[in-house]
Protein backbone atom coordinates (compact mmCIF):
# COMPACT_ATOMS: atom_id res chain seq x y z
CA UNK A 1 0.00 0.00 0.00
CA UNK A 2 2.52 2.62 1.12
CA UNK A 3 4.93 1.41 -1.54
CA UNK A 4 2.53 2.10 -4.40
CA UNK A 5 1.66 5.44 -2.86
CA UNK A 6 5.30 6.60 -2.78
CA UNK A 7 5.66 5.44 -6.34
CA UNK A 8 2.64 7.41 -7.54
CA UNK A 9 3.90 10.45 -5.67
CA UNK A 10 7.20 10.14 -7.47
CA UNK A 11 5.37 10.03 -10.81
CA UNK A 12 3.44 13.18 -9.88
CA UNK A 13 6.64 14.88 -8.80
CA UNK A 14 8.37 14.06 -12.09
CA UNK A 15 5.34 15.22 -14.08
CA UNK A 16 5.32 18.51 -12.16
CA UNK A 17 9.01 19.06 -12.82
CA UNK A 18 8.39 18.43 -16.51
CA UNK A 19 5.65 21.05 -16.55
CA UNK A 20 7.96 23.64 -14.98
CA UNK A 21 9.72 23.53 -18.34
CA UNK A 22 6.76 25.52 -19.69
CA UNK A 23 7.84 28.34 -17.40
CA UNK A 24 11.60 27.87 -17.49
CA UNK A 25 12.12 27.39 -21.23
CA UNK A 26 10.89 30.88 -22.25
CA UNK A 27 13.25 32.40 -19.68
CA UNK A 28 16.12 30.19 -20.76
CA UNK A 29 15.37 31.14 -24.37
CA UNK A 30 15.80 34.85 -23.64
CA UNK A 31 19.01 34.39 -21.66
CA UNK A 32 20.65 32.00 -24.11
CA UNK A 33 19.80 34.18 -27.11
CA UNK A 34 21.12 37.27 -25.36
CA UNK A 35 24.57 35.71 -25.65
CA UNK A 36 24.52 34.96 -29.37
CA UNK A 37 25.90 36.93 -32.29
CA UNK A 38 23.55 39.10 -34.37
CA UNK A 39 23.38 36.53 -37.17
CA UNK A 40 23.14 33.47 -34.95
CA UNK A 41 20.21 34.91 -33.00
CA UNK A 42 18.13 35.10 -36.17
CA UNK A 43 17.92 31.32 -36.25
CA UNK A 44 15.73 31.54 -33.14
CA UNK A 45 16.86 28.26 -31.68
CA UNK A 46 17.16 27.22 -28.08
CA UNK A 47 20.69 25.91 -28.74
CA UNK A 48 23.63 27.19 -26.74
CA UNK A 49 25.57 29.89 -28.61
CA UNK A 50 28.61 28.85 -30.64
CA UNK A 51 30.59 31.61 -28.99
CA UNK A 52 29.38 33.47 -25.91
CA UNK A 53 28.91 37.12 -26.83
CA UNK A 54 29.01 38.91 -23.49
CA UNK A 55 29.78 41.94 -25.57
CA UNK A 56 26.02 42.35 -26.25
CA UNK A 57 25.57 43.54 -22.70
CA UNK A 58 28.38 46.04 -23.00
CA UNK A 59 26.86 47.36 -26.21
CA UNK A 60 23.43 47.86 -24.65
CA UNK A 61 25.02 49.61 -21.68
CA UNK A 62 26.87 51.93 -24.07
CA UNK A 63 23.83 52.76 -26.19
CA UNK A 64 21.15 53.15 -23.56
CA UNK A 65 21.37 54.80 -20.20
CA UNK A 66 20.58 51.67 -18.22
CA UNK A 67 22.00 52.84 -14.86
CA UNK A 68 19.86 55.97 -15.06
CA UNK A 69 16.74 53.88 -15.67
CA UNK A 70 17.60 51.63 -12.72
CA UNK A 71 18.07 54.71 -10.62
CA UNK A 72 14.64 56.07 -11.66
CA UNK A 73 12.94 52.74 -10.99
CA UNK A 74 14.59 52.57 -7.57
CA UNK A 75 13.48 56.12 -6.72
CA UNK A 76 9.88 55.42 -7.73
CA UNK A 77 9.65 52.00 -6.09
CA UNK A 78 11.45 52.61 -2.81
CA UNK A 79 9.88 56.00 -2.10
CA UNK A 80 6.36 54.92 -2.93
CA UNK A 81 6.48 51.71 -0.87
CA UNK A 82 7.81 53.59 2.16
CA UNK A 83 5.20 56.36 1.90
CA UNK A 84 2.49 53.78 1.36
CA UNK A 85 3.54 51.60 4.31
CA UNK A 86 3.71 54.51 6.76
CA UNK A 87 0.39 56.07 5.75
CA UNK A 88 -1.44 52.75 5.46
CA UNK A 89 -0.29 51.35 8.79
CA UNK A 90 -1.25 54.56 10.58
CA UNK A 91 -4.65 54.52 8.94
CA UNK A 92 -5.21 50.83 9.68
CA UNK A 93 -4.30 51.38 13.32
CA UNK A 94 -7.21 53.82 13.64
CA UNK A 95 -9.58 51.90 11.36
CA UNK A 96 -9.20 48.74 13.44
CA UNK A 97 -8.95 50.16 16.94
CA UNK A 98 -11.52 52.92 16.59
CA UNK A 99 -14.27 50.90 15.05
CA UNK A 100 -16.94 53.55 14.42
CA UNK A 101 -19.60 53.61 11.71
CA UNK A 102 -17.75 56.33 9.83
CA UNK A 103 -14.53 54.36 9.90
CA UNK A 104 -16.36 51.33 8.59
CA UNK A 105 -17.54 53.44 5.69
CA UNK A 106 -14.05 54.80 5.11
CA UNK A 107 -12.70 51.26 5.00
CA UNK A 108 -15.29 50.36 2.36
CA UNK A 109 -14.25 53.43 0.41
CA UNK A 110 -10.68 52.10 0.41
CA UNK A 111 -11.91 48.70 -0.73
CA UNK A 112 -13.44 50.33 -3.82
CA UNK A 113 -9.88 51.15 -4.86
CA UNK A 114 -8.97 47.46 -4.91
CA UNK A 115 -11.69 46.71 -7.42
CA UNK A 116 -12.43 49.78 -9.52
CA UNK A 117 -10.18 50.51 -12.49
CA UNK A 118 -8.47 53.89 -12.50
CA UNK A 119 -9.76 56.32 -15.07
CA UNK A 120 -6.51 57.26 -16.77
CA UNK A 121 -7.82 60.26 -18.72
CA UNK A 122 -9.25 62.17 -15.77
CA UNK A 123 -6.24 61.16 -13.67
CA UNK A 124 -4.05 62.61 -16.41
CA UNK A 125 -5.99 65.86 -16.28
CA UNK A 126 -5.65 66.04 -12.49
CA UNK A 127 -1.93 65.31 -12.61
CA UNK A 128 -1.52 67.99 -15.26
CA UNK A 129 -3.50 70.55 -13.27
CA UNK A 130 -1.35 69.83 -10.22
CA UNK A 131 1.83 70.04 -12.37
CA UNK A 132 2.70 66.47 -11.47
CA UNK A 133 3.35 65.13 -14.99
CA UNK A 134 7.03 64.18 -15.28
CA UNK A 135 7.45 64.93 -11.59
CA UNK A 136 9.13 62.39 -9.32
CA UNK A 137 6.95 63.53 -6.41
CA UNK A 138 3.80 63.22 -8.48
CA UNK A 139 4.49 59.70 -9.71
CA UNK A 140 5.60 58.53 -6.26
CA UNK A 141 2.43 59.89 -4.64
CA UNK A 142 0.26 58.39 -7.37
CA UNK A 143 1.83 54.97 -6.84
CA UNK A 144 1.41 55.30 -3.09
CA UNK A 145 -2.25 56.28 -3.54
CA UNK A 146 -2.90 53.32 -5.79
CA UNK A 147 -1.20 50.86 -3.38
CA UNK A 148 -2.95 52.19 -0.26
CA UNK A 149 -6.19 50.15 -0.59
CA UNK A 150 -4.48 46.76 -0.80
CA UNK A 151 -1.93 47.70 1.87
CA UNK A 152 -4.60 48.88 4.32
CA UNK A 153 -6.42 45.64 3.67
CA UNK A 154 -3.28 43.67 4.59
CA UNK A 155 -2.56 45.75 7.71
CA UNK A 156 -6.16 45.55 8.90
CA UNK A 157 -6.23 41.77 8.98
CA UNK A 158 -2.92 41.77 10.86
CA UNK A 159 -3.67 44.49 13.42
CA UNK A 160 -7.04 42.89 14.21
CA UNK A 161 -5.13 39.95 15.68
CA UNK A 162 -2.80 42.06 17.84
CA UNK A 163 -3.58 42.29 21.55
CA UNK A 164 -4.70 45.71 22.80
CA UNK A 165 -2.87 45.38 26.16
CA UNK A 166 0.24 47.01 24.78
CA UNK A 167 -1.71 50.08 23.71
CA UNK A 168 -3.18 50.36 27.17
CA UNK A 169 0.23 49.99 28.78
CA UNK A 170 1.46 52.78 26.53
CA UNK A 171 -1.38 55.06 27.59
CA UNK A 172 -0.65 54.42 31.27
CA UNK A 173 2.97 55.34 30.62
CA UNK A 174 1.68 58.61 29.21
CA UNK A 175 2.64 58.08 25.58
CA UNK A 176 0.72 60.08 22.98
CA UNK A 177 -0.98 58.42 20.00
CA UNK A 178 1.80 59.16 17.51
CA UNK A 179 4.41 58.06 20.01
CA UNK A 180 2.54 54.81 20.66
CA UNK A 181 2.23 54.19 16.95
CA UNK A 182 5.94 54.73 16.35
CA UNK A 183 7.47 52.96 19.31
CA UNK A 184 4.91 50.25 20.14
CA UNK A 185 2.80 49.43 17.12
CA UNK A 186 5.08 49.88 14.13
CA UNK A 187 7.78 47.47 15.39
CA UNK A 188 5.09 44.80 15.87
CA UNK A 189 4.04 45.18 12.26
CA UNK A 190 7.42 44.15 10.83
CA UNK A 191 6.26 40.94 9.12
CA UNK A 192 3.24 42.48 7.45
CA UNK A 193 5.22 45.59 6.53
CA UNK A 194 7.82 43.39 4.86
CA UNK A 195 5.08 41.60 2.94
CA UNK A 196 3.40 44.81 1.83
CA UNK A 197 6.71 46.34 0.81
CA UNK A 198 7.88 43.37 -1.23
CA UNK A 199 4.56 43.05 -3.07
CA UNK A 200 4.26 46.76 -3.76
CA UNK A 201 7.91 46.89 -4.79
CA UNK A 202 7.40 44.23 -7.43
CA UNK A 203 4.19 45.93 -8.57
CA UNK A 204 5.83 49.33 -8.85
CA UNK A 205 9.06 48.13 -10.42
CA UNK A 206 7.17 46.21 -13.09
CA UNK A 207 4.51 48.84 -13.72
CA UNK A 208 4.18 49.94 -17.28
CA UNK A 209 1.01 52.03 -17.27
CA UNK A 210 1.79 55.05 -15.09
CA UNK A 211 5.03 55.99 -16.87
CA UNK A 212 3.30 55.47 -20.21
CA UNK A 213 0.68 58.07 -19.35
CA UNK A 214 2.43 60.36 -16.91
CA UNK A 215 6.15 60.37 -17.75
CA UNK A 216 6.89 61.83 -21.18
CA UNK A 217 10.55 62.72 -20.57
CA UNK A 218 12.69 59.70 -21.39
CA UNK A 219 15.31 60.78 -18.82
CA UNK A 220 12.76 59.97 -16.10
CA UNK A 221 11.82 56.54 -17.42
CA UNK A 222 12.35 53.50 -15.28
CA UNK A 223 13.61 50.19 -16.57
CA UNK A 224 10.27 48.94 -17.88
CA UNK A 225 9.72 51.85 -20.26
CA UNK A 226 13.34 51.53 -21.35
CA UNK A 227 12.76 47.85 -22.04
CA UNK A 228 9.63 48.72 -24.00
CA UNK A 229 11.64 51.20 -26.03
CA UNK A 230 14.19 48.45 -26.78
CA UNK A 231 11.49 46.51 -28.65
CA UNK A 232 11.34 49.22 -31.29
CA UNK A 233 14.99 50.25 -31.15
CA UNK A 234 16.43 46.74 -31.45
CA UNK A 235 13.81 45.48 -33.85
CA UNK A 236 16.47 43.94 -36.06
CA UNK A 237 18.98 43.18 -33.30
CA UNK A 238 17.36 40.55 -31.12
CA UNK A 239 20.67 39.74 -29.48
CA UNK A 240 20.70 43.24 -27.98
CA UNK A 241 16.99 43.17 -27.17
CA UNK A 242 17.43 39.97 -25.16
CA UNK A 243 20.59 41.25 -23.49
CA UNK A 244 18.72 44.37 -22.40
CA UNK A 245 15.75 42.31 -21.25
CA UNK A 246 17.94 39.99 -19.18
CA UNK A 247 19.74 42.89 -17.59
CA UNK A 248 16.47 44.51 -16.59
CA UNK A 249 14.71 41.36 -15.43
CA UNK A 250 17.49 39.94 -13.28
CA UNK A 251 17.15 42.26 -10.26
CA UNK A 252 13.42 41.54 -9.98
CA UNK A 253 14.05 37.82 -10.20
CA UNK A 254 16.58 38.12 -7.39
CA UNK A 255 14.13 40.09 -5.23
CA UNK A 256 11.54 37.41 -5.92
CA UNK A 257 13.85 34.55 -5.00
CA UNK A 258 14.87 36.27 -1.77
CA UNK A 259 11.40 37.41 -0.81
CA UNK A 260 9.14 34.77 -2.36
CA UNK A 261 8.02 33.57 1.07
CA UNK A 262 6.63 37.03 1.79
CA UNK A 263 5.22 37.52 -1.68
CA UNK A 264 3.27 34.28 -1.92
CA UNK A 265 1.94 34.37 1.63
CA UNK A 266 1.13 38.07 1.51
CA UNK A 267 -0.62 38.06 -1.82
CA UNK A 268 -2.80 35.16 -0.76
CA UNK A 269 -3.19 35.48 3.04
CA UNK A 270 -4.66 38.95 2.72
CA UNK A 271 -7.08 37.66 0.13
CA UNK A 272 -8.19 34.60 2.10
CA UNK A 273 -8.80 36.42 5.36
CA UNK A 274 -10.85 39.18 3.78
Amino acid sequence: MSGSRTKSRLVVEIALWCSTLLILIPLYFVIVNSLKSATEVQMMTAKLPAVFHFNNYVEVLKKANVPRAFMNSAIFSISSIVVCAVLSSMASYILVRRNTRINGMIFNLFLVGMIAPMNMVTTFKLMKTLHLINSYYGIILLYAASFIPFTIFLYNSFIRNLPTDLDEAGVIDGAGPLRRYISILFPLLKPVTATAMVINFVGCWNDFVFPLYFVTESSKWGVILLLYQFIGAYYSRHDLLFAGATMIALPTLIVYLLGQKYIISGMTAGAIKG
Partner: protein, 295 residues
Protein backbone atom coordinates in the same frame (compact mmCIF):
# COMPACT_ATOMS: atom_id res chain seq x y z
CA UNK B 1 -20.78 51.03 16.77
CA UNK B 2 -20.36 53.60 19.55
CA UNK B 3 -16.93 53.95 21.06
CA UNK B 4 -15.93 55.37 24.43
CA UNK B 5 -14.29 58.73 24.99
CA UNK B 6 -11.14 56.93 26.02
CA UNK B 7 -10.98 55.09 22.69
CA UNK B 8 -11.43 58.38 20.90
CA UNK B 9 -8.55 59.93 22.82
CA UNK B 10 -6.38 56.86 22.40
CA UNK B 11 -6.96 56.56 18.69
CA UNK B 12 -7.39 60.02 17.24
CA UNK B 13 -8.82 60.29 13.77
CA UNK B 14 -5.93 62.44 12.47
CA UNK B 15 -3.65 59.41 12.07
CA UNK B 16 -6.07 58.24 9.42
CA UNK B 17 -6.08 61.51 7.52
CA UNK B 18 -2.84 61.39 5.48
CA UNK B 19 -3.75 58.10 3.78
CA UNK B 20 -7.35 59.18 3.26
CA UNK B 21 -6.33 62.53 1.85
CA UNK B 22 -3.83 61.07 -0.61
CA UNK B 23 -6.28 58.41 -1.72
CA UNK B 24 -9.09 60.93 -1.98
CA UNK B 25 -7.17 63.45 -4.07
CA UNK B 26 -5.31 61.13 -6.43
CA UNK B 27 -7.75 58.24 -6.75
CA UNK B 28 -11.31 59.19 -5.84
CA UNK B 29 -11.45 62.69 -7.32
CA UNK B 30 -10.36 61.72 -10.84
CA UNK B 31 -12.61 58.68 -10.85
CA UNK B 32 -15.59 60.67 -9.63
CA UNK B 33 -14.81 63.35 -12.21
CA UNK B 34 -15.02 60.71 -14.93
CA UNK B 35 -18.77 60.49 -14.27
CA UNK B 36 -19.01 64.08 -15.47
CA UNK B 37 -16.40 64.17 -18.25
CA UNK B 38 -17.82 61.05 -19.89
CA UNK B 39 -20.83 63.20 -20.82
CA UNK B 40 -18.84 66.05 -22.37
CA UNK B 41 -17.18 66.78 -25.71
CA UNK B 42 -13.85 67.36 -23.91
CA UNK B 43 -11.00 67.03 -26.44
CA UNK B 44 -7.51 68.22 -27.25
CA UNK B 45 -8.59 70.74 -29.90
CA UNK B 46 -11.50 72.72 -28.46
CA UNK B 47 -11.00 74.86 -25.40
CA UNK B 48 -14.60 74.72 -24.14
CA UNK B 49 -15.82 71.58 -22.44
CA UNK B 50 -19.51 71.20 -23.22
CA UNK B 51 -22.08 68.82 -21.76
CA UNK B 52 -23.38 66.61 -24.58
CA UNK B 53 -25.48 64.01 -22.75
CA UNK B 54 -25.16 60.47 -23.95
CA UNK B 55 -23.54 61.32 -27.30
CA UNK B 56 -20.22 59.64 -26.45
CA UNK B 57 -22.01 56.47 -25.42
CA UNK B 58 -24.19 56.52 -28.52
CA UNK B 59 -21.05 56.80 -30.62
CA UNK B 60 -19.29 54.03 -28.71
CA UNK B 61 -22.18 51.62 -29.19
CA UNK B 62 -22.93 52.66 -32.79
CA UNK B 63 -22.13 50.04 -35.39
CA UNK B 64 -20.06 52.57 -37.36
CA UNK B 65 -17.47 52.78 -34.57
CA UNK B 66 -16.72 49.07 -34.93
CA UNK B 67 -16.37 48.72 -31.15
CA UNK B 68 -18.40 45.51 -31.04
CA UNK B 69 -15.22 43.49 -31.38
CA UNK B 70 -13.65 45.35 -28.47
CA UNK B 71 -16.41 44.26 -26.10
CA UNK B 72 -16.27 40.72 -27.43
CA UNK B 73 -12.46 40.57 -27.04
CA UNK B 74 -12.61 41.90 -23.49
CA UNK B 75 -15.25 39.31 -22.55
CA UNK B 76 -13.36 36.47 -24.26
CA UNK B 77 -10.15 37.45 -22.52
CA UNK B 78 -11.73 37.76 -19.06
CA UNK B 79 -13.79 34.56 -19.17
CA UNK B 80 -11.25 32.31 -20.93
CA UNK B 81 -8.39 33.31 -18.64
CA UNK B 82 -10.53 33.04 -15.49
CA UNK B 83 -11.69 29.52 -16.31
CA UNK B 84 -8.26 28.21 -17.29
CA UNK B 85 -6.46 29.86 -14.37
CA UNK B 86 -8.89 28.18 -11.97
CA UNK B 87 -8.57 24.74 -13.56
CA UNK B 88 -4.77 24.83 -13.78
CA UNK B 89 -4.37 26.54 -10.41
CA UNK B 90 -6.61 23.98 -8.70
CA UNK B 91 -4.82 21.07 -10.30
CA UNK B 92 -1.40 22.40 -9.27
CA UNK B 93 -2.58 23.14 -5.74
CA UNK B 94 -4.05 19.65 -5.24
CA UNK B 95 -0.89 18.00 -6.53
CA UNK B 96 1.41 20.26 -4.54
CA UNK B 97 -0.50 20.24 -1.26
CA UNK B 98 1.56 17.52 0.36
CA UNK B 99 3.62 14.43 -0.11
CA UNK B 100 5.93 15.97 -2.69
CA UNK B 101 9.44 16.44 -1.38
CA UNK B 102 10.38 19.39 -3.59
CA UNK B 103 6.99 21.11 -3.24
CA UNK B 104 8.42 24.42 -2.00
CA UNK B 105 10.71 24.87 -5.00
CA UNK B 106 7.94 23.78 -7.36
CA UNK B 107 5.48 26.24 -5.82
CA UNK B 108 8.01 29.03 -6.17
CA UNK B 109 8.60 28.21 -9.84
CA UNK B 110 4.91 28.02 -10.71
CA UNK B 111 4.25 31.30 -8.94
CA UNK B 112 7.18 33.12 -10.54
CA UNK B 113 5.68 34.31 -13.88
CA UNK B 114 3.37 36.83 -12.21
CA UNK B 115 6.40 38.59 -10.73
CA UNK B 116 8.05 39.00 -14.15
CA UNK B 117 7.45 42.30 -15.90
CA UNK B 118 4.64 42.07 -18.44
CA UNK B 119 6.87 43.80 -20.99
CA UNK B 120 9.44 41.00 -20.71
CA UNK B 121 6.69 38.39 -20.86
CA UNK B 122 5.43 40.11 -23.99
CA UNK B 123 8.86 40.06 -25.61
CA UNK B 124 9.27 36.36 -24.81
CA UNK B 125 5.93 35.33 -26.24
CA UNK B 126 6.22 37.51 -29.32
CA UNK B 127 9.25 35.35 -30.14
CA UNK B 128 7.64 32.08 -29.13
CA UNK B 129 4.54 32.83 -31.21
CA UNK B 130 6.33 34.23 -34.28
CA UNK B 131 5.85 32.18 -37.50
CA UNK B 132 9.40 30.79 -37.26
CA UNK B 133 9.39 30.80 -33.46
CA UNK B 134 9.85 27.87 -31.10
CA UNK B 135 6.15 26.98 -30.79
CA UNK B 136 5.84 26.26 -34.50
CA UNK B 137 9.28 24.66 -34.44
CA UNK B 138 8.10 22.31 -31.71
CA UNK B 139 4.90 21.45 -33.60
CA UNK B 140 6.90 20.62 -36.72
CA UNK B 141 9.29 18.52 -34.67
CA UNK B 142 6.49 16.27 -33.44
CA UNK B 143 4.94 16.02 -36.91
CA UNK B 144 2.06 18.44 -36.45
CA UNK B 145 3.07 20.88 -39.20
CA UNK B 146 -0.59 21.42 -40.10
CA UNK B 147 -1.17 22.88 -36.62
CA UNK B 148 1.34 25.68 -37.09
CA UNK B 149 -0.01 29.21 -37.17
CA UNK B 150 1.07 32.82 -37.23
CA UNK B 151 -0.28 32.91 -33.68
CA UNK B 152 -0.38 36.69 -33.26
CA UNK B 153 -0.88 37.72 -36.89
CA UNK B 154 -4.03 35.72 -37.67
CA UNK B 155 -7.05 37.77 -36.55
CA UNK B 156 -9.20 34.73 -35.72
CA UNK B 157 -6.82 33.25 -33.16
CA UNK B 158 -4.78 36.24 -31.98
CA UNK B 159 -6.94 37.04 -28.93
CA UNK B 160 -6.79 33.41 -27.78
CA UNK B 161 -3.00 33.37 -28.17
CA UNK B 162 -2.59 36.52 -26.11
CA UNK B 163 -5.08 35.33 -23.48
CA UNK B 164 -3.11 32.10 -23.13
CA UNK B 165 -0.07 34.16 -22.14
CA UNK B 166 -2.12 35.56 -19.27
CA UNK B 167 -2.98 32.00 -18.23
CA UNK B 168 0.75 31.21 -18.29
CA UNK B 169 1.41 34.32 -16.21
CA UNK B 170 -1.21 34.05 -13.49
CA UNK B 171 -2.14 30.38 -12.97
CA UNK B 172 0.47 30.21 -10.23
CA UNK B 173 -1.34 32.96 -8.38
CA UNK B 174 -4.59 30.98 -8.50
CA UNK B 175 -2.61 27.98 -7.25
CA UNK B 176 -1.32 29.97 -4.26
CA UNK B 177 -4.85 30.99 -3.27
CA UNK B 178 -6.04 27.38 -3.48
CA UNK B 179 -3.02 26.23 -1.47
CA UNK B 180 -3.76 28.76 1.27
CA UNK B 181 -7.35 27.51 1.41
CA UNK B 182 -6.22 23.87 1.51
CA UNK B 183 -4.28 24.57 4.69
CA UNK B 184 -7.61 25.22 6.40
CA UNK B 185 -9.08 21.78 5.74
CA UNK B 186 -8.97 19.98 9.10
CA UNK B 187 -6.83 16.84 8.90
CA UNK B 188 -9.27 14.87 11.08
CA UNK B 189 -11.91 15.03 8.39
CA UNK B 190 -9.67 13.14 6.01
CA UNK B 191 -8.98 10.52 8.65
CA UNK B 192 -12.68 10.16 9.35
CA UNK B 193 -13.53 9.71 5.67
CA UNK B 194 -10.71 7.20 5.30
CA UNK B 195 -12.17 5.14 8.13
CA UNK B 196 -15.52 5.36 6.33
CA UNK B 197 -13.75 3.91 3.31
CA UNK B 198 -13.99 6.86 0.94
CA UNK B 199 -11.83 6.72 -2.19
CA UNK B 200 -9.57 9.55 -3.39
CA UNK B 201 -12.19 10.97 -5.76
CA UNK B 202 -14.93 10.86 -3.16
CA UNK B 203 -12.59 12.65 -0.77
CA UNK B 204 -11.90 15.30 -3.39
CA UNK B 205 -15.53 15.98 -4.24
CA UNK B 206 -17.18 15.68 -0.85
CA UNK B 207 -14.46 16.92 1.48
CA UNK B 208 -11.84 19.03 -0.28
CA UNK B 209 -13.85 20.95 -2.87
CA UNK B 210 -16.46 22.30 -0.43
CA UNK B 211 -13.60 23.73 1.62
CA UNK B 212 -12.21 25.35 -1.51
CA UNK B 213 -15.49 27.09 -2.32
CA UNK B 214 -14.35 30.45 -0.98
CA UNK B 215 -11.07 30.17 -2.90
CA UNK B 216 -12.98 29.48 -6.10
CA UNK B 217 -15.10 32.59 -5.52
CA UNK B 218 -11.95 34.64 -4.90
CA UNK B 219 -10.20 33.32 -7.98
CA UNK B 220 -13.27 34.03 -10.09
CA UNK B 221 -13.40 37.59 -8.77
CA UNK B 222 -9.68 38.21 -9.28
CA UNK B 223 -9.73 36.58 -12.69
CA UNK B 224 -12.72 38.50 -13.97
CA UNK B 225 -11.63 41.87 -12.57
CA UNK B 226 -8.05 41.66 -13.78
CA UNK B 227 -9.22 40.16 -17.06
CA UNK B 228 -11.61 43.01 -17.78
CA UNK B 229 -8.93 45.55 -16.83
CA UNK B 230 -6.18 43.96 -18.94
CA UNK B 231 -4.01 46.42 -20.78
CA UNK B 232 -0.23 46.09 -20.80
CA UNK B 233 -0.01 42.47 -21.92
CA UNK B 234 -2.08 43.15 -25.04
CA UNK B 235 -0.48 46.53 -25.65
CA UNK B 236 3.00 44.97 -25.69
CA UNK B 237 2.29 41.80 -27.66
CA UNK B 238 -0.15 42.95 -30.34
CA UNK B 239 -1.21 46.52 -29.51
CA UNK B 240 -4.79 45.54 -30.33
CA UNK B 241 -3.97 44.37 -33.84
CA UNK B 242 -4.16 42.88 -36.38
CA UNK B 243 -7.16 44.98 -37.50
CA UNK B 244 -8.37 45.51 -33.90
CA UNK B 245 -8.80 41.75 -33.46
CA UNK B 246 -7.15 41.83 -30.01
CA UNK B 247 -8.25 45.30 -28.95
CA UNK B 248 -9.75 45.40 -25.44
CA UNK B 249 -11.43 48.26 -23.56
CA UNK B 250 -8.30 49.64 -21.91
CA UNK B 251 -6.44 49.67 -25.24
CA UNK B 252 -9.26 51.71 -26.79
CA UNK B 253 -9.05 54.09 -23.82
CA UNK B 254 -5.37 54.75 -24.60
CA UNK B 255 -5.90 54.99 -28.36
CA UNK B 256 -8.70 57.53 -28.03
CA UNK B 257 -6.71 59.40 -25.40
CA UNK B 258 -3.74 59.62 -27.80
CA UNK B 259 -6.07 60.95 -30.51
CA UNK B 260 -7.14 63.69 -28.10
CA UNK B 261 -10.74 62.45 -27.80
CA UNK B 262 -10.69 62.83 -24.02
CA UNK B 263 -14.44 62.80 -23.40
CA UNK B 264 -14.94 59.72 -25.56
CA UNK B 265 -12.01 57.98 -23.87
CA UNK B 266 -13.36 58.83 -20.42
CA UNK B 267 -16.74 57.38 -21.43
CA UNK B 268 -14.99 54.18 -22.48
CA UNK B 269 -13.22 54.10 -19.10
CA UNK B 270 -16.57 54.58 -17.37
CA UNK B 271 -18.04 51.64 -19.29
CA UNK B 272 -15.10 49.54 -18.10
CA UNK B 273 -15.83 50.68 -14.55
CA UNK B 274 -19.47 49.59 -14.93
CA UNK B 275 -18.43 46.20 -16.33
CA UNK B 276 -16.02 45.60 -13.45
CA UNK B 277 -18.67 46.60 -10.90
CA UNK B 278 -21.23 44.39 -12.62
CA UNK B 279 -18.80 41.46 -12.69
CA UNK B 280 -17.99 41.96 -9.00
CA UNK B 281 -21.61 41.93 -7.85
CA UNK B 282 -22.64 39.36 -10.45
CA UNK B 283 -20.02 36.84 -9.35
CA UNK B 284 -20.85 37.42 -5.69
CA UNK B 285 -24.57 37.00 -6.40
CA UNK B 286 -24.19 33.78 -8.35
CA UNK B 287 -21.89 32.20 -5.79
CA UNK B 288 -24.12 33.25 -2.88
CA UNK B 289 -27.00 31.34 -4.45
CA UNK B 290 -25.02 28.12 -4.56
CA UNK B 291 -23.10 28.63 -1.36
CA UNK B 292 -21.75 25.51 0.30
CA UNK B 293 -21.53 25.74 4.06
CA UNK B 294 -18.70 23.77 5.58
CA UNK B 295 -18.73 25.18 9.08
Amino acid sequence: MRVSKLTKRMFPQYLLLPALLLYFVLFLIPNLASFYYAFTNWNAVGSVVKFIGFDNFREIFSSASGNGGVFRNTAVFAIYTTVLKIIIGLLLALLLNEGIRTKNILRAIFFMPITISVVLTGIMFSEIYSPDGILNGLLKLVGLSSWTHAWIAEPQIAIWSVATVEVWRASGFAMAIFLAALQMVPKEIYEATEIDGAGSFQKLFYVTLPYLYQAIVLNTLFGMISGLKVFDLIYVISNGGPVRSTEVLNVTVLNEFSKGAYGYSTAMGLILFLFVTLAYFGVNYVFKKFEVDVS
